[in-house]
Amino acid sequence: MSITPFNIPIVPKLKKETIYSLARKGSRIDKRKLDQFREIKITLGAAGKAHGSALVELGHTKVLAGVKIEPGRPFSDMPDQGVLNVSAEFLPIASSEFEPGPPDENAIEVARVVDRALRESQAIDLGKLAIIPGEKVWVVWVDINVLDHDGNLFDASMLAAMAALLDAKIPQHEILEDGSVRIIGPPIEPLPVKKRVVSVTIGALGNVFLVDPSLEEEAVLDTRIMFSFDEEGNLVGMQKTGAGWLDWDKVAIAFNIARNKYTVPLRALQGAFKS
């Protein structure tokens, strides 16, 4: 069951009006342009025991994603394919609004939206992750940990997950006679990543759209919509999120803004793997 969030702090009227009037003038409280992302910083290998990891900072928003690659059983209807699992946790260190406990609907939504974009774009070549077809395959666990929440967890999580997957390497292993898999050395071989997927979240506010909304902006937006793209600019995922509506005729405008901006996170991703 989902319920209207009833314990969210009220946004002061003054702040609301400031954001609105700035937006009408094409500006934002943190001096950004309407279609400008906050600064993106990607730190690879931030979690040493993960097989791949990345810390993404999007302004003050901080998301750490870690990938573990472990032998496991395939799904019975996909016997020759590896398994991809995406989870997200909104850690209580990240916000005074987050309580400890199992993932709530917001964390589940983020995980599923990231999962779908990765899966539908076939970003990971799961067909190359069979160890013994029908018996043993690699299970790829992507765990998204939100460390600091200053808005736009969708894009930060998508980017952290993608960077961690690109950073990930498969453990050296041998297959024993009884069919079990033994890890025999540190990970070396890269995970077969076929596509790089990023997302752009657009906030609707009256007649304008804000790219990469901050937490303060999220609190006053009419609604938000997240678009995911592969490197060629195909749409590989989409999610309207938050109460409120979007004018039917403005969806295309929001989409075009997103389509023009997806190269920003994509370039940040490419930059992180340049060295």
């Binding site: 069951m1 989902s2 319920i3 209207t4 009833f6 314990n7 209807d77 996909m78 609907e105 917001n106 589940i108 939504e109 995980a111 599923r112 779908r116 899966r119 539908e120 774009s121 076939q122 609604t223 919509i225 592969d230 600019g233 195909n234 749409l235 590989v236 995922g237 989409m238 999610q239 309207k240 999120t241 938050g242 109460a243 409120g244 509506w245 979007l246 004018d247 039917w248 005729d249 969806v251 295309a252 989409f255 389509r259």
Partner: protein, 240 residues
Amino acid sequence: MSGKKPPFPLLKDGKRHDGRGPMDLRPIQMKVGILHNADGSAWVKMGRTEVIAAAYGPREPPMKAMILPDRAVIRFRYHMAPFSTDERKSPAPSRREIELSKVIREALEATILTHLFPRTVIDVFAEVIQADGGTRTAAITAASLALADAGIPMKGLIAGVAVGKVEGQLVLDIDQVEDEYGEADMPVAAIVGLRKIVLLQLNGVLKPDEFLKALSMAWEGLKRIYELERSVLGSKYKGV
């Protein structure tokens, strides 16, 4: 979108596997007032997909903590009967059901005039009796009808439909086979009378121009579903 090959062609001579053209909706049936206890209720059948929804409220919240001083709290649950799916589904809520409950709850919040009922809760529950593709959009349509049947004031009725892509072609109102073996599933819901989108998701891959075309196809479907909703609600609900 399993990436698997379909067991039969999904498109042949411009017809879909069940004989429909690309812009055809499945046969739709709707009823309201089907339950005795609920303040409002509805039943929606699209092809083999079948959903019952009920609305209760505005009423006193079960816990004081969940009161909002300036408007009603909305609770919504999307739930599948264990026997609604090909393989029995555990009745415990799956991650999928939790996500869909959230996005539909948010869609309902956009249309219900919650500010008229401060300090109350309005409950809407949708039960999927049979799942054959498009359950979330059938659920939101049924929820909207149940709210109207309960006399809860809304800005407008919501209609929902999915556009899909099968064998490279966009088609309206996909069923389970088209979903499973197709390339994209884009569920959309809108307050049709106001031209407002309240739910929009994409599962699959679309090129930019396909996305824009899919949107306009969805609109055609939504208008037809909206007309059916209005006619089933009949004269006594003229307002919505």
